[in-house]
């Protein structure tokens, strides 16, 4: 009996010990082509591949967030279509949330086992390049693939000599207004959409749009989400129209040491001091400001995206239907895309958020054929039908020719505001030039200044705890520290 107890105990201990090691398995499967071969089908292969090469089975792992509300619903369909197109290739898509995607990817990258493809914004790739795991696809993607994309947008993924991704879309980050309130404040929004507006005009407009009841503000003229890192969005979107379309000028000098940067900070602070923006702006997060827009607590909001027209419409439909899931206290609103005002006589330079697909390798040297297969999968996701469906969901136009062609087969949303469509197209054409000349090292240093100095100081400025001059001095000191006296713009 004692012996049996001991054996039983030993068994439990063994199971628990092995269990504690579960999950430590090394999975190299996804990083190299399997050796199993399948029937040759050269007609399915890309023209650049040699007809003689063996078609090995290969699995391509992909990590994707919900890029649009319906994006992840299509994964099974897209995987099946990809497999039909390339019978030897399997697309293994892991869906994840926006909240988790960066952390999940970062941990996988640091462990040296990232997915083959991930969805990463063009302005976030510097740190991945620095790891050595982001693959330059200029030699693995075919010239036909790359020629399909709009050149300036594709160039957003060019850093130094390398090309590190294929764009899924280019979205303009701007601002948007409540049509009824804009008209009530006497703002000719159609003209603003066509011709833009200056900071002075914008300042007067949001003053006119601010409605008070006694001492309490009922409706602010303008509310931008500025809580946490979203404060960086506010500054990044507005700074482009103040003569600094990028963080480095054309001579690769750090641009935010220009006096225009100081004047911009003073101008943004003045909007709060006018009472047109809430003094608690530094605590308003993205959810709160959208809630304020839908409940009529602000006339103009930011950051604004084209898809907000759809979100506002959906809420209107819920209000009409008496649906309890409509935002509490919300009113019917029509979202109007507006350009960001220009400062000091500078031209419009729209903030383009270019997001897309990038290719990673693992610690082991990947097989060349595997990288070519990954490029095919990237192009499948970034071009053609997938691009059309994704962009249509986001109320924007594709940035590749095959995507635009595929739009003919996609159902366009009903009652889409034609003025918004035209303005969105106009603003996309004003997206600032890509800067492939900014090296990953420079980009990483600038990002660090943004995270460690600009965002915290800007939050303090919005909270009225430091002056624009103090923030400017802190940014300048950090820039000199990072780039030297010769590495900054002086005017």
């Amino acid at each position: 009996m004692m012996q049996l107890k001991k054996v039983f105990t030993l068994l439990i201990v063994t199971v628990l010990a092995v269990g504690s090691l579960a999950g430590c398995k090394k999975d190299d499967g996804a990083k190299g082509a399997d050796t199993n071969t399948v029937t040759k089908d050269n007609s399915k292969e890309d023209s650049s591949d040699t007809g003689e090469e063996e078609l090995k089975e290969d699995t391509i792992s992909v990590l994707l967030p919900p890029v649009t509300p319906t994006y992840q619903d299509n994964f099974d369909k897209w995987s099946k279509e990809f497999h039909e197109l390339y019978p030897n290739l399997t697309l293994q898509i892991e869906p994840t949330s926006w909240e988790d995607v960066t952390q999940k990817l970062d941990v996988q990258v640091q462990a040296g086992s990232p997915p083959d493809i991930a969805f990463v914004g063009a302005d976030s790739i510097f740190k991945y390049i620095d790891t050595g795991l982001l693959v330059d696809i200029s030699n693995t993607a075919t010239s036909e693939m790359l020629a399909d994309f709009d050149e300036n947008i594709l160039n957003y993924y060019k850093k130094g000599d390398g090309l590190y991704g294929m764009p899924a879309y280019a979205e303009v980050h701007g601002i948007g207004g409540n049509k009824e309130m804009l008209e009530a404040a006497g703002i000719d929004w159609k003209m603003v959409q066509k011709e833009g507006w200056t900071y002075e005009e914008f300042r007067e407009a949001i003053k006119a749009g601010t409605v008070k009841e006694g001492d309490t503000v009922k409706t602010y003229g303008f509310v931008f989400a500025c809580s946490g890192v979203t404060a960086a969005d506010y500054l990044n979107i507005f700074v482009r129209n103040a003569g600094m379309p990028d963080v480095f000028n054309e001579n690769l000098k750090y641009a935010y040491t220009s006096k225009n940067f100081l004047k911009l900070l003073e101008a943004l602070r003045a909007l709060i001091d006018d009472g047109s923006m809430p003094k608690e702006l530094s605590s308003v997060d993205a959810g709160k400001r959208w809630n304020m827009f839908l409940t009529g607590q602000t006339m103009i909001t930011g950051k604004g995206l084209s898809v907000f027209e759809r979100s506002a419409k959906e809420n209107n439909d819920k209000i009409d239907a008496g649906d309890g899931s409509a935002v509490e206290g919300s009113i019917k609103t029509e979202y109007i895309i507006l350009p960001v005002p220009t400062f000091f006589g500078n031209p419009i330079s729209a903030a383009g958020a270019v997001d897309g697909y990038v290719c990673f390798r693992g610690k082991e040297e990947p097989e060349p054929q595997h990288l070519k297969n990954v490029a095919k999968a990237m192009y499948f996701l970034a071009g053609g039908e997938v691009s059309a469906v994704t962009c249509n969901d986001l109320y924007i136009s594709p940035v590749c020719e095959t995507g635009r062609q595929a739009m003919a087969d996609v159902e366009i949303p009903e009652d889409k505001n034609e003025f918004n469509t035209e303005t969105a197209a106009l603003l996309v054409s004003k997206i600032s030039e890509a800067r492939p000349d900014i090296t990953p090292e420079l980009g990483a240093k600038a990002q660090k200044i943004s995270d460690e100095v600009i965002v915290p100081k800007f939050q303090a400025l919005l909270a009225d705890e430091i002056t624009p001059q103090e923030m400017y001095d802190a940014v300048k000191a950090a820039a000199i520290d990072a780039f030297g006296e010769d590495g900054i713009a002086v005017d």
Binding site: S20, L281, A463
Partner: protein
């Protein structure tokens, strides 16, 4: 000449060895878990702290990461923030837990269980869900819950999480009101462990409630208090979640704690070497604090 006790001793020794072996087998699982998930990462972090860690091209940099950390003003600011946060939350939290426990102990078993459950509830709730509730409470606009409450007392509208004057206070208040479930349960267990004869004897001597508290309860639960103090200080020095979810360390790094700084270094900038150096410096600081606490409070404590 062999002793008569020889075979018996050998048999006993053999039995002991065999029992020891079974003892080791029994602790194999926790030992393995400790070795893999605690000991190995600590040793690895120590080695990484002397490197510039990259998945493909790690380089040995000597003490560079430690030098950079000690030159970084944000490290000192985050350390100061952490000390302020710990210095306020730990004593107040322990005092509150003790007070609540004293109020719960005289109740019936059923009522005790209810209050223990109620106070422990935040510990099992998701930190993210809790942070949403607190963000709603700290809504910066005049319509915000806390702002409406303070307005009743004539206090102006506050930008709770967005101003460096109130952001740290907001995090401390959040910690104070939602994190003593475990302390209360431990305090109640300690209070129930005090023999009733002490109170009876004190009653006969005519001791007041506060005299009983001062001369019976406090000394007898001192080991519990020291345990909670030490573990709370260690936990508080590692605080990360609230700052990460509520303020992101802002405004102007007013709520950046060392834990958040280490997280950002590692996962935002991929500077694992410097993050490891910071983590090890923090470990040393916690070790020193713990040693001092034991020296000051633990001399006459029996466990």
């Amino acid at each position: 000449m062999k002793s008569k006790k020889g075979p018996a001793l050998q048999k006993k020794k053999r039995k002991n060895t065999e029992e020891n072996r079974w003892g080791y087998i029994f602790i194999l699982v926790p030992l393995l878990v400790f070795a893999i998930f605690t000991l190995y990462p600590i040793m690895d972090a120590f080695i990484i702290s002397f490197k510039e860690f990259k998945p493909l091209k790690t380089e040995w940099v000597g003490f560079e990461n430690y030098k950079n950390t000690l030159k970084n003003s944000l490290f000192y600011k985050s350390l100061a923030n952490t000390v302020v946060y710990t210095g306020i939350t730990v004593p107040l939290s322990l005092a509150l837990s003790f007070l609540i426990s004293i109020l719960i102990v005289p109740l019936t078993k059923r009522k005790q269980n209810f209050f223990k459950g109620a106070y422990y509830l935040p510990a099992i709730a998701s930190g993210v869900a809790l942070s949403f509730v607190w963000k709603w409470i700290y809504d910066p606009l005049p319509s915000g819950l806390l702002n409406r409450l303070v307005a009743l007392f004539g206090v102006d509208n506050q930008n709770w999480l967005g101003s460096s004057k109130t952001a740290m206070f907001s995090l401390i208040l959040m910690a104070l009101l939602s994190s003593h479930g475990a302390s209360i349960i431990i305090y109640i267990a300690a209070l129930l462990g005090i023999d009733n004869t002490y109170y009876e004897s004190a009653d006969m001597d005519g001791a007041t409630f506060f005299q009983k508290l001062r001369y019976i309860v406090m000394p007898l639960i001192k080991p519990t208090t020291v345990f909670l103090l030490v573990t709370s200080v260690i936990g508080s020095f590692q605080v990360f979640q609230n700052a990460f979810l509520m303020t992101g360390g802002g405004p102007d790094n007013a709520t950046t704690m060392v834990g958040l700084l280490i997280f950002n270094k590692a996962f935002k900038y991929f500077e694992y070497g410097e993050a490891s150096a910071q983590a090890l410096i923090l470990t040393a600081i916690i070790g020193i604090f713990t040693f001092i606490q034991f020296k000051l409070t633990g001399d006459n404590v029996e466990y």
